[in-house]
């Protein structure tokens, strides 16, 4: 996972990578050697924070998977079965499939045996992730999807290459435009974007209100939400926005440790999908709010406050220990939060006034550059 890459692998490249792996395996068999593939480890011990690149990355530890190993033989076979299946989908120019659908394609018993090739979807999902890291390609590039849930609105036009449809995100009505499962350049081509910045909001309710208030139109921005913890597509899309549009990204979350963490996932990536960070992190993203200091600065009513719980405090302690929360600003913010003793949901800002978020809070913060990096 050493090379920085902006552009993902094309389907042709994926096919070639899979074939190259298989050729190595076949060569080993022809040489009477134990065939082997090398699969980067996706364990916590192989994850680190790259302070320079400002993202969570997968370390260089890899596990070798061999066929002539009592504990790995089946996984080895399954790895090749998944690889062959993916190649087959590429050759057929198949529509993208969900991993559950792929499981059904892979399913079956082996000849003259009652043993299943895959016991359940959990087994095939794990092998799919192995194949992703093995050939350094994303699930989306393999023609597979994770179910997306995000929506966007704003001055952006995109070409959906599969259908040829041109999508104008200024004409998406109150519902906004759904983020597709694959936002890879070959499927989701940016045509035109005149936005000054991108505003990601954690909550759909907040996005919905801002959209109705035509916030994106009035402030010339792209308004986006991943509905809580973002799925792969939202994160990948934000990463593409950063790299291709080169405009500022602001993230607006709840003032609690979970909100802070969601921001960090958009910005630096996540532990579980560390291998995905380089394609799905937006290190330039800034945390625009809500902050502990904002409570007094903007004179919010007490009705916006929720008492912090033991679980909150425990999680704060955990997050404080993460390398990507080690900056002075974030350590201070987390300390202040503990001292404050309350959390504030971004939805709660309506308690001040319905227009407060759109007309006062966000414009003020952006104008004054009051954010945490």
């Amino acid at each position: 996972m050493a090379t920085e890459k902006i552009k993902g692998k094309s389907r042709q490249e994926v096919k070639e990578s899979l074939e190259a792996q298989a050729k190595d395996v076949l060569a080993a068999i022809n040489d009477m050697k134990n065939p082997k593939v090398s699969i980067p480890l996706r364990t916590l011990t192989n994850v680190y924070f790259d302070a320079k690149a400002k993202m969570i990355k997968l370390g260089d530890k890899a596990g070798s998977r061999t066929f002539y190993n009592v504990n790995q033989a089946k996984k080895f076979m399954q790895t090749m079965l998944v690889a062959a299946q993916i190649k087959g989908l590429i050759l057929q120019n198949s529509p993208t499939l969900d991993t559950r659908q792929l499981f059904y394609l892979l399913r079956g018993t082996m000849p003259n045996s009652s043993e299943d090739k895959f016991d359940d979807q959990e087994e095939s999902d794990a092998i799919i992730e192995d194949v992703e890291v093995m050939i350094d390609a994303l699930r989306e590039e393999l023609g597979l999807i994770a179910v997306p849930k995000g929506v966007i609105a704003g001055p952006l036009t995109v070409e959906d290459t599969a259908t040829g449809d041109i999508i104008d995100y200024t004409k998406m009505g109150t519902a906004g435009g759904a983020i597709p499962a694959s936002v890879e350049p070959e499927n989701f081509k940016f045509n035109k974007c005149s936005a000054d910045y991108i505003l990601v909001v954690e909550k759909y309710a907040v996005w919905n209100l801002l959209n109705q208030q035509r916030f994106w139109e009035k402030n010339n921005c792209i308004l986006m939400t991943g509905k809580g913890q973002p799925a792969r597509a939202e994160r990948r899309l934000l990463a593409r926005f950063e790299k291709e549009l080169k405009i500022p990204i602001y993230v607006f979350c709840d003032m609690d440790v979970y909100g802070y963490y969601i921001y960090s996932v958009y910005k630096q990536g996540s532990i579980n999908l560390a291998f995905f960070s380089e394609k799905a992190a937006a290190p330039s993203a800034k945390y625009i709010g809500f902050n502990v200091d904002d409570y007094t600065k903007f004179k919010l009513p007490k009705s916006a406050l929720i008492k912090m719980t033991e679980d909150d405090l425990k999680r704060i302690k955990e997050v404080k220990g993460y390398d990507w929360f080690k900056s002075k600003d974030w350590q201070d913010e987390l300390d202040k939060l503990v001292k404050f003793g309350y959390t504030i949901e971004s939805d709660a800002l309506v308690a001040k006034s319905i227009d407060f978020t759109a007309k006062t809070y966000l414009p003020t913060k952006i104008k004054n550059k009051e954010w945490i990096d």
Partner: protein, 544 residues
């Protein structure tokens, strides 16, 4: 008054005959029920036949037939090719209890019967249940006529009563045949005649035994070895095995002039040096005439005899089967995957030398996995079919930790597994718990020897079972790779365009090679660290 009473008692007192005694106590001889009576009869007759043949250096050929006469009435026929019995002896041998050449007071040699009760007790039982006489035919040489006797036992006198006699032609050079009618019950399960004969065949591989059961089914147990067992010799008593009473009688009866020569001539393993040691410890002058030894001195002598270190008894009186023969024989009777046998060196209990032999057979189609192991006990080549729990040989089997030897075992029970365990005790004098000779008494020395032999066999068994498990595992592995190879070949064919059949053929070759080289790995995930890099310490938090 007391005298008067005593005289009255005296009128009632009379010696009861042995035969009368055993009529009332037949369970002591193994005739307690109809099933056992049949088996005991066969057993006594076959034991006698085998002993007779071996004494005469004849490879035994024994024929056993059981015919059903009516409900619960059977005719038992046992015939051998032994030396035959001279006419005058036929009566006493079959018609007098406690008659025979086998009963020895001091020392002796290994033999099947010991007291000479068995066969006459069967005759008695036959007579009691059917009223019919026993029919005995015997021939002592090719030129002789065979004698046929119809014989009963006079219960009061313990004497044979000949009720019929004739000479006849018999197409046999020599041998003896006995026919007994009796009330009996025939069973086919464990402790059956068939089982007994099969077990007998295992420990008597030099014998050929033919058996026809009441359903006229014929069984043949073939001869496995062509040599007769080594002949057991008579030996003098060993000092450790003598008790005071017999010692006093020996002192009176000896022709030795001095106590020293008494010791060296009448006892096994006592030379001049040992005799001196014994006498010095007993503070007895070696020149004393044995006859003149006081009771007190005799007690001292006995104590000293048993306290002095003396060489173990001679083993020439023993005739073990031999480990190789035992193995061959077990393999001939059972279809086994593993056999091992051990013959222990001779040892001593109470001055009697004995030798333990153990054989273990394992696996094969006849033995089942989750059943208790078949334990066959033998004393002097005779199967012990009853009272398994009371026997020292069983105790030795249950005292071994079979779990370490490849069998299952819960607590101190007979182990479970597809195995046969044979324990044979060869001895001049096997210490049976009763006259019916069904169990060996619990002597520590016997249990210890048997345990050692069992453990030695157990170690071999463990190594076999271990190997077998490894083979089974290897087979499982091979099957697994074979199965996965098919799918792998197809996937690789799709990915590379190479022919599926070619890849599969290569994989078959490679699988063989990997298995042969023992190159199959079994680690979970082999970690390869390409670059050492400090990993930030943080605990896992969930996202997504």
């Amino acid at each position: 008054m007391p005298e008067l009473k005593a005289e009255e008692f005296a009128k009632q007192q009379r010696s009861i005959s042995v035969a009368e005694f055993f009529e009332k106590n037949r369970h002591l001889l193994g005739f307690d029920n109809a099933i056992k009576a049949l088996l005991t009869t066969v057993k006594e007759a076959v034991d006698n036949s085998l002993d007779a043949c071996e004494d005469a250096d004849i490879l035994p050929e024994i024929f056993v037939k059981i015919e059903e006469l009516s409900t619960n009435k059977y005719k038992i026929i046992v015939e051998d090719n032994g030396p035959g019995i001279v006419k005058a002896q036929i009566g006493p041998v079959f018609g007098k209890l406690l008659y025979g050449s086998k009963f020895q007071t001091f020392g002796g040699k290994q033999g099947r019967g010991q007291q000479g009760i068995g066969i006459s007790a069967a005759v008695l039982y036959s007579q009691m249940t059917t009223g019919k006489p026993a029919k005995i035919i015997s021939k002592i040489g090719p030129k002789e006529k065979a004698h046929c006797f119809l014989l009963k036992i006079s219960i009061e006198k313990n004497d044979p009563e000949i009720v019929g006699e004739e000479e006849l032609d018999w197409d046999k050079d020599h041998g003896t045949r006995i026919e007994l009618d009796m009330e009996a019950k025939y069973v086919e399960k464990r402790a059956s005649v068939l089982e007994y004969l099969k077990e007998t065949a295992v420990v008597n591989p030099h014998a050929k035994i033919t058996y026809i059961d009441p359903l006229k089914q014929k069984y043949e147990f073939k001869r496995v070895v062509e040599e007769l067992p080594k002949k057991a010799e008579k030996v003098k008593p060993h000092p450790y095995g003598v008790e005071l009473g017999p010692l006093l009688r020996m002192l009176k009866a000896t022709s030795a002039r001095t106590i020293k020569s008494f010791l060296t001539t009448e006892f096994d393993k006592v030379g001049a040096g040992t005799a001196d040691l014994i006498l010095r410890a007993a503070e007895i002058d070696p020149r004393v005439m044995p006859r003149l030894l006081s009771l007190e001195s005799a007690e001292k002598l006995l104590k000293s005899m048993q306290g002095t270190k003396i060489m173990v008894p001679s083993t020439t009186c023993l005739s073990p089967i031999g480990a190789d023969t035992l193995m061959k024989s077990l393999e001939a009777e059972y279809n086994l995957e593993f056999v091992h046998a051990v013959t222990r060196p001779a040892s001593v209990y109470r001055g009697n030398s004995f030798q333990i032999e153990v054989a273990i057979g394992y696996g094969g189609p006849e033995l089942t996995q989750d059943q208790p192991v078949k334990v066959f006990r033998f004393a002097n080549r005779v199967p012990l079919l009853y009272q398994q729990g009371a026997c020292a040989l069983t105790k030795a089997v249950t005292a071994v930790e079979w779990k370490s030897y490849g069998l299952q075992q819960s607590g101190d029970n007979i182990p479970n597994g597809p195995a046969i365990i044979i324990v044979h005790m060869a001895s001049v004098w096997a210490p049976f718990t009763s006259e019916s000779k069904e169990a060996i008494a619990n002597y520590d020395e016997i249990i210890k020897e048997a345990k050692l032999a069992l453990q030695e066999c157990g170690r071999q068994l463990q190594s076999f079972v271990g190997k077998r498990q490894r083979h089974a595992l290897a087979k499982k592995k091979a099957d697994m790779f074979k199965l996965y190879s098919i799918e792998l070949a197809e996937a690789l064919s799709n990915l590379t365009g190479a022919k599926k059949e070619d890849i599969q053929a290569k994989l078959v070759k490679l699988t063989d090679e990997m298995l042969k080289l023992g190159a199959i790995e079994d680690n979970e995930v082999k970690e390869e660290v390409k670059v050492k890099r400090k990993v930030g310490a943080f605990k896992g938090g969930d996202d997504e």
